[in-house]
Amino acid sequence: MSQNIIKFVINTKRTLMLFNQIYTQYYKKIYQFVYRLSYSQQDSEDITQDVFISLFKEIESNNKLNNIKAWLYKCAFNKFINVNKKSKVISLTNNISHYEINDQASIESDFIHNEKKKIIIDAMSKLTEQEQVLLNLYNEDFSYKEISEIVDIKYTSVGKILSRVIEKLAKQIKLSNHEELCIQRKIV
């Protein structure tokens, strides 16, 4: 009996140690991932917290997780979709108002930076929800296979969508950089 209790205590300690390690390693990454989709700090905090509660329960019940990183992102993505559905916020365009842009920028560089941010947010908002998620996952260095599993799309579609989205976004970023230069010249 006492041996069983010792085993239980050791297992619990191991679980906690493992969980704490994952928590400190991935908290910021998951937060950033959700933030780039929701553009809301409150939603990002809530969803990230919920993701780790789910992870804790999975580890506690000894469920085997083959790829913890992919599992965390998939969980975060699903929770984001659920929250979006519940709050009736479907597209990123609606969330942009949450994004904190410093309107009272008195310094010229701040003004230019904010202008650039606005243009790029606008470019990002033109992407579909799926394209935004794919882009963010790609940015986290996931392989095509992992991305296809997280978002639940065909493996062959991942490269096609990403190549198209990156080309489109790069064009718009270049355009915004050009506009930024024009603004700088006007100010000078």
Partner: protein, 151 residues
């Protein structure tokens, strides 16, 4: 050039997400084709530009809070709202159906026995006199159903 590869294929090649045969083919092709080599470097610069831009869009400061198993208020509120929403819609449905039923009953045109006989075609006076009509009334005293019982 005839054997030039598409931008999508080059994108996959850049990430080594092609079969070995295709990878080898593009390897060999790029060494001899300046256009594809240029396209590949263009893809690379686009990727770097986009990644750099995305990474600039982060909140200024992220604090790692102490872990708690308690769910956030907003997510709990979503569930409460969901339950309340269901309860409200069910009660609304019940109220509407009750009101509709009452409305249907009250809207039935009151008919007295004499008028009821007018609805029956080819009826003669003798038959009318020797007939008994059973009428059902609602709680407000309005007739809602008639039945003719032959004498």
């Amino acid at each position: 050039m005839k054997n030039c590869v598409s931008k999508e294929k080059l994108f996959d090649y850049y990430h080594s997400e092609l079969e070995k045969e295709e990878m080898d083919f593009i390897d060999a092709h790029i060494n001899v084709c300046e256009d594809c080599k240029h396209l590949l470097s263009q893809i690379e610069s686009e990727i770097l530009l986009v990644k750099e831009t995305i990474n600039n869009f982060n909140p200024e400061y992220i604090e790692i809070p102490e872990f708690s198993l308690k769910r956030s208020h907003s997510l709990n509120n979503y569930n409460k709202m969901k339950i309340l929403g269901w309860a409200a819609s069910i009660s609304l449905l019940i109220t509407i159906s009750t009101l509709a039923t009452q409305k249907i009953i009250h809207n039935q045109k009151p008919v007295n026995d004499y008028e009821y006989f007018q609805y029956i075609p080819d009826i003669n006076d003798a038959w009318k006199e020797n007939s008994i009509t059973v009428t059902c009334y609602d709680e407000n005293g309005n007739p809602i159903d008639h039945q003719v019982i032959k004498n």
